[in-house]
Point group: C2
Chain length 497, copies 2
């Protein structure tokens, strides 16, 4: 086949490799390539698989081929390079996907073949979707969830801390402001136990732990930097995305999210693979329960807990699962900087600190201390409280931040507006998703200072006209978007009689 001139067309199709050829070009006619055909693009001994989109209006000219942003980067050829095309070899691992779709079961080597092709970006979004659906819900047996978890671990980087005990914590999510990690980690580390924490950024929420920590210190640590911080402090709070832990998971999420499928097997594999790849041995898992949380009942939480524990055991991860109150946001701030201010108030034992964030963090830290076996059952909470109240946790946090580029001062956004109560009464309910949406409309997490600051929490008395919460935004336009949303959603905060 003739060579083509490579062009970067500047289109971000997210993870998917897309190639662009002009409609009716000679190579398409002779090879039968058309929209959605898969082609292999070769340059200097490397090659990538890509799905075709056809172009007209001269975006790509005859004799040229365009590549989407990710595909261009992965091929690694310069703009204007001469590349060649071929029909790709059949994607053999997709036969296993078909087998699963036909009701069969897959073994570990088959999951490994599929995930290896996925992390090499050889699956189109259509093929990825087929795999995600094949794994959807009941159709994965428990051994299969275990194989999937193991294959996710093995197709990415792994950190080995060379320690018998490496503690970790994780919350399944859904509760805004839930930044306990940044208090639990310094408590546990100040006690003397290793807790090298890798956290995620927000996917659909107004802030992830990595976003909130970034308001206080650098979180983009390479593996060597992480090791240096952990060697000095016994802990770090870094963004997991800097190290390629279980990368297949991120690719699968790119099609799961738009489908909004609540795939339990994949959630379990996702969490456990990331933690195991990060080198953790003991994981404390927080499952919040509430009507606007992810899990709505204790029965559901119990079933999920057992599943997590069994799969955890399979991949060599010890689990302790706790159920927590998921009725309302934790703390007062929602959005990176506002949450960081809450965290500092608790660590610095400032008057007026958010009591619920402090209590939840102490309880989780106490559980972790007991889970480690270094503190007797029933004594963890007291031990955690001593470490926090004595200032040791704050000392430790400052040490971590210093080694992660130095402690920064979090700044709320420039513009703010109060939202007042329309009546006198008591706060009866706070809608987690709608509070989160308000903070996102205000600009969180892209604008670290944007978000919501709650002046009232569940059960608080409020007078008509008194401030319920404040919205922070960097532009007046974003502030107005968020306030319009608040006005249109009176059930955001329910005032009881």
């Amino acid at each position: 086949m003739p060579e083509l001139i490579l062009r970067q067309v500047g289109i971000d199709t997210y993870h998917e490799n897309i190639a662009y050829l002009p409609i009716g070009c000679e190579i398409c006619r002779s090879q039968g390539f058309g929209a959605l055909s898969k082609i292999e693009v070769h340059y200097g001994g490397r090659s990538i698989l890509a799905t075709l989109n056809m172009t007209e209006n001269g975006l790509v000219k005859g004799g040229e081929i365009g590549l989407s942003h990710a595909a261009f980067r992965r091929l690694g050829a310069p703009e204007g390079a001469r590349v060649s095309l071929s029909h790709p070899n059949p994607l053999l691992s997709f036969d296993f996907v078909r087998h699963k779709l036909e009701g069969g079961h897959l073994d570990k080597s088959q999951f490994l073949a599929i995930l290896s092709d996925i992390v090499a970006y050889r699956y189109s979004n259509i093929e990825l979707t087929a795999f995600v659906i094949a794994c959807y819900q009941q159709s994965l047996t428990e051994p299969e969830i275990g194989y999937l978890t193991e294959a996710m671990i093995e197709t990415g980087e792994r950190i080995d801390w060379d320690l018998p005990l490496v503690l970790d914590k994780h919350c399944i999510g859904g509760i805004p402001g839930n930044r306990t990690t940044m208090i639990v980690v310094p408590i546990v580390a100040a006690f003397g136990l290793p807790i090298p924490k890798t956290s995620s950024r927000a996917i659909t929420s107004p802030s992830g732990t990595a976003d909130t920590m970034e308001a206080l210190a650098n979180v983009r640590l390479g593996l060597d930097e992480m090791r240096a911080v952990v060697a000095a402090e016994g802990a770090c709070i870094a963004w997991g995305g800097s190290v390629a832990l279980a990368p297949a998971d991120d690719i699968l999420i790119s099609v799961e999210r738009p489908l909004n499928l609540d795939s339990e097997g994949q959630m379990i594999a996702s969490i456990l693979s990331k933690k195991r790849a990060a080198g953790s041995t003991h994981l404390l898992l927080d499952i919040p329960i509430g009507p606007t949380a992810k899990v709505h009942s204790t029965e559901e939480a119990e079933r999920l807990k057992k599943r997590f524990e069994r799969i955890g055991a399979r991949v060599g991860l010890q689990l302790r699962v706790v159920f927590t109150d998921g009725l309302q946001p934790v703390g007062r701030g929602i959005g990176p900087a506002l949450e960081a201010l809450d965290v500092l108030q608790v660590l610095q034992r400032k008057p007026g600190h958010p009591e619920d964030l402090r209590e939840k963090s102490l309880s989780l830290a106490g559980e972790l201390l007991e889970f480690s076996g270094k503190v007797a059952a029933g004594e963890g909470l007291d031990r955690a409280r001593e470490i926090l109240d004595s200032g040791q946790a704050w000392e430790k946090f400052q040490g971590i931040a210093r080694r992660q580029g130095g402690l920064k001062e979090p700044r709320p956004a420039r513009h703010s507006a109060p939202v007042s109560s329309p009546r006198t009464g008591r706060i009866g309910a706070i809608h987690n998703q709608k509070i989160a949406r308000t903070a996102k409309l205000a600009g969180a997490p892209q604008d670290p200072g944007a978000g919501v600051y709650l002046e009232k929490k569940l059960g608080d008395a409020v007078a008509s006209g008194e401030v319920l919460f404040r919205v922070f935004a960097e532009t007046e336009e974003e502030l107005s978007f968020a306030l319009q949303y608040v006005a249109a959603n009176p059930d955001l905060i329910t005032i009881g009689g």
Copy 2:
């Protein structure tokens, strides 16, 4: 939300509506839109749903929005128009897809809701894939295949011929050169029975009946033109794509094809919905059996036959199913013009006409005559032969062609090259898919004159160096592509001892 200026970016993403916004644009930040988000684009009371791709390098500027070719056409706004965006309402019918994925069953109203959204292009490729997979194989019950078929019919145009008996024929495909329709239709019409035929173009083959007929007459007939031809001649041979019969099927095929999933339920729904929407009452279905055909054994064919018959009865279509020899291509030509030459030779009773094409066409025409009830059982074949041999079928074909824009002369492509036998012996096997691929590499069906012309068929004696077949192409380059493929595939034609 602020208005944006509309740009046509000239990208053909096939059926999928894709919108392009600059990375980090204000509306993306404030609304949380990102790659693969779904957005609704509004203009003058109309709106479309689209999936987002993010751009950089100035393809779309700040304050602008780009739309893919199909999305631009569907929105119907001019370049430079001011459009507005919104978060789309939830796609309610996707809840039914989730229900099916969870092992539930769908009723007709639910299939109807899904297919109505699909034909309005409200499903992204990821969502379409989820639906296709949800319907894959065993998971559709027979009543569900019936509902799917009915919903496909009801979400498109329907032709009503206002006749008690409307004959039709269809082959499930896989056999190159199988152009019996163009001989069967004039025989049946000359007998006096209505057979208004809508045919498809090639999807993955070197020619569809519509492509071959186009080498002899115009096939792009609107519904009124079709009615005029049928009123005058009792028959037509038109491209079905000009009338929107069961359009959901074409959209589903766009994701089924790249997955290469052999979804029986969808194949049945696809064929029966197209025929019923075309107004047919009696359908003769041809299932070729052979090692390189779609169906490999009589048992498989029997099971498929029963399924077709039961679903056909459900949607009000009478079926007669015949099993035919799928061991090798039918006739000598493969590719639009070369197949058209075969058809003319049979209709004109020229010496040297391809005997197998004649015999298979006579047999199918005889079946149709008997199926109509107007010819007694056992007499159809003789009646068909009389009509062909007397020249009545050729007269009728000329009449149809005249009313479809006038009979054209098919022309083989400019360049050709013979492929000779490496040894003396008898033809033992001809590989259907590989012969088809050779014809496609030579340029069929885009170049109507390109393809393969077989000089030898199964069982023929051949001497070493004697010509097995000829390859036709419009350019020497395409001819050389095809010949390279032939050289690399010695099992294309097997010579026995």
